[in-house]
């Protein structure tokens, strides 16, 4: 048993391929039998992945979900930023340049609106829970943008570590909810064409959330959503500790 575990650990990436393959097989079967194909296999597989990530996190107390369990370590490489971005870029092969040109203005505006709306909503929720100083509101508002913008803003404005941790949690929740929720809300918001996908990517901004959510909705939309989402974190890091923080200080004193 130890011998087998040793082999699996040393060849982590290969075992990750097997594990994901098995998850997709089970999900595909569940999709066909339980939902008659209504809920796509990939959507079920992503939810299954999140559940396993939760179990792994509870089991080990680590930060990388299932990958914190030694024999599943390869999942961290397979699902890490390098290979994820590499595969996202590859999906652009064969996208329609005309569609991108059509959505240019809408995509840009969606980015700006997406960042601002997340800031405001996050700050309002923070205030509702009693975090009324500008530093905490700016940090939690930034966390509602993405879990990278939260700590960047929090560190810059000198928020407490408890508030920074909350901002990361808010961003993580958003990423998870976008992954699971996108296929459900897609029909309600007309998310069935490249332009809407670019707007969605810009408004949501969480690359992991958008990448997972669109994959579970319609994989052909992935490159369009990913293209705008990738600008979001940078824009958030730019506006969070500056314009947004100063606006809050102006409005609420400090």
């Amino acid at each position: 048993m130890e011998l087998v575990a040793g082999v699996l650990e040393r060849n982590g990436l290969l075992f990750a391929f097997v594990v994901v393959g098995a998850m997709m097989l089970i999900s595909g079967w569940l999709s066909k039998t339980l939902t008659r194909g209504r809920l796509q296999g990939s959507a079920i597989a992503i939810i299954l992945g999140l559940v396993l990530a939760y179990a792994g996190g509870i089991q080990t107390g680590g930060e990388a979900g299932l990958a914190d369990i030694a024999i599943f370590g390869g999942l961290g490489l397979m699902g890490g930023a390098m290979l994820r971005d590499f595969a996202i870029v590859a999906t652009a092969y064969g996208v329609d340049l005309q569609e991108i040109k059509k959505a240019g203005a809408a995509g840009g505006l969606s980015l700006l609106l997406g960042v601002i709306v997340s800031f405001i909503v996050g700050a309002a929720v923070a205030a509702a829970f009693g975090y009324t100083d500008p530093e905490s509101m700016a940090t939690i508002g930034s966390g509602a943008a993405t879990y990278i913008v939260g700590p960047v803003t929090g560190t810059a404005v000198g928020a407490s570590s408890e508030v920074i941790a909350l901002s990361v949690a808010a961003g993580l929740v958003k990423a998870v909810i976008v992954m699971v929720g996108t296929p459900m809300i897609a029909p309600l918001i007309g998310l069935n064409n490249p332009k809407a996908a670019m707007a969605y990517g810009g408004l949501m901004g969480t690359t992991s959330g958008v990448a997972g959510g669109l994959a579970a909705t319609d994989k052909r939309l992935v490159p369009y959503g990913a293209m705008t989402a990738t600008f979001y974190t940078g824009l958030g890091c730019l506006l969070g500790p500056s314009v947004f923080y100063f606006a809050l200080r102006f409005l609420f004193g400090g």
Partner: protein, 133 residues
């Protein structure tokens, strides 16, 4: 040669990431600004140009398409390595902030979709395409 396609893809991504980091430094933020987006646009332009010149044969194309097809499995691995436990640990405030940001953003999708030229819905996927991930 399959590797030519993989190499071209990797080169596009690396150049895109360098541009993204450079923009980050220029505007003074500690983040990569749009690296993946630049890489994607570069891949679209470069591959179209190479194909027109007949320099991007089928095997090279396979190298790109393989990684494109691995995208969904990679996203599933990514889902399995998210810090879900901490997200749930954040309590009601973190959950409410995350959910409200999603709802507010999603509500704006139909508004923004109206700007500019109309984009046609993609044709429905066939049963085969749906299961082929």
């Amino acid at each position: 040669m399959v590797l030519y396609g993989v190499a071209a893809l990797a080169l596009c991504m690396l150049v895109g990431m360098i541009i993204g980091d450079l923009i980050g430094v220029l505007v003074g933020v500690d983040a990569n600004v749009g690296g993946v987006g630049f890489a994607m646009i570069m891949l679209v332009l470069v591959s179209a140009w190479l194909r027109k010149k007949g320099l991007f044969p089928k095997p090279s194309e396979q190298g790109v398409l393989f990684w494109s097809a691995l995208y969904i499995p990679i996203v599933i691995a990514m889902a399995a390595t998210q810090n879900v436990a901490e997200a749930i640990d954040g309590g009601p405030m973190a959950i409410l902030a995350g959910v409200s940001a999603l709802v507010a953003g999603a509500a704006l999708v139909p508004v923004i979709s109206r700007i500019g030229e109309k984009s046609e819905p993609l044709p429905p996927m066939t049963e085969k395409e749906k299961q082929e991930v």
